[in-house]
Assembly symmetry: C2
Homo-oligomer: 214 residues x 2
Amino acid sequence: MANTKKRPRIDKKNLIIRRMSTYLRTLDHLQNKGVKVISSADLEKIDGVTQSLVRRDFAEFGSFGVRGVGYHVPELREQIARVLGFDRHWKVALIGAGGLGSVLMHSASFKKRNLEVVQIFDHAGVSVGTSIEGIPVHDIANIEQELDASRIDLAIIAVPPPEVQSVIDRLSQLGVRGALYFASRPVRVPENMVVLNMDITVELGVLTYQLQDF
Amino acid sequence: MANTKKRPRIDKKNLIIRRMSTYLRTLDHLQNKGVKVISSADLEKIDGVTQSLVRRDFAEFGSFGVRGVGYHVPELREQIARVLGFDRHWKVALIGAGGLGSVLMHSASFKKRNLEVVQIFDHAGVSVGTSIEGIPVHDIANIEQELDASRIDLAIIAVPPPEVQSVIDRLSQLGVRGALYFASRPVRVPENMVVLNMDITVELGVLTYQLQDF
DNA sequence: TAGATTGTTAATCGATTAACAATC
DNA sequence: TAGATTGTTAATCGATTAACAATC
């Protein structure tokens, strides 16, 4: 049987990394509340990860705490942000400026994480030619001419399901390395890309399963 | 130290269930394409889960395939839908009818999974009094009076981060069992609820991490 | 110092893989 | 029948937990 090419160890540390990203969010929250120091036991209560695992997760990347004291929130926050790559700036292309694309543009998610949307593409129609949050919307038909892959670190793909695969393939050709899409469908991931997906129907399945005999 | 209450075995089978929900999506896709039969080896190529694990996942819930042949797509689809609870109708309350709430209402995600939004709540303002997709929008201030918990199986919470916790607490009081929220913040989950979260900032952290030395 | 909490190691547990008999 | 692919078991691997010495 065909030896399906081993995906690289990308989703190797996957569980740890997802938790790290969740801790970062919690630390943002704590920092907003003015909390200065936090223990792994506190984090267990907030994030539902055992204190043992919290410490082990952090220890995977360094020694961020103070014995007998806990973790200084601003410092731990910064260390985790660094691990995840948020110590640098990321340039983003938004593909699809419909309902979801607009919601994303107007949300605080990107700037909060040092991501900057520098190009927007959509189909010729209402939005092309206008600007969203100061960024002009280009025609997706011209993406090969207009997308400057050397400036783009990742793409946020907010187009309808039937278009997602072709957008990914075109981004791959252009040399864009990363993408996140929201459509509820599987995609073939090009070798030169990391592609993640957020799909509400997948989450709904998890939720309804859990509610069945709850 | 306080013996933090063990969360029930809810996220016990979590990994399997998330994969099952992903297979279901793939089967929808295959069915749309008119594919009649699929093997675990095919599913490995599409979903990136080893054929061995695919078969094991299915076997966890029954015997859905035919030796020497594979899995009949419509039948497998139906079996997995049943496992996830999609063989029944789910009534949904949408809390928050702003940008994200509207996008969700206009998407096909809910009806695709046998979920029906039967009540919508938002803050007094533009949307209250109007209808979205034929469902009238109520004032969230009156949720205690207007939400009929006996009719509602789960809530979709699309309100801004600072309001999420209070919405969850109010739903818990009302007896709503399940919720999905999108805000980037931790929440305390009431004992009588299952609460899931989709947070783009968490996914962005996973993506930027993986892109770092890709 | 006494008390608290980290960082880390060894033990356990659970999830994944490999292999193959069953069977279409 | 021969070829294919499932369902299932045993082996392996990796992730989590428990425990405690280090140390603030």
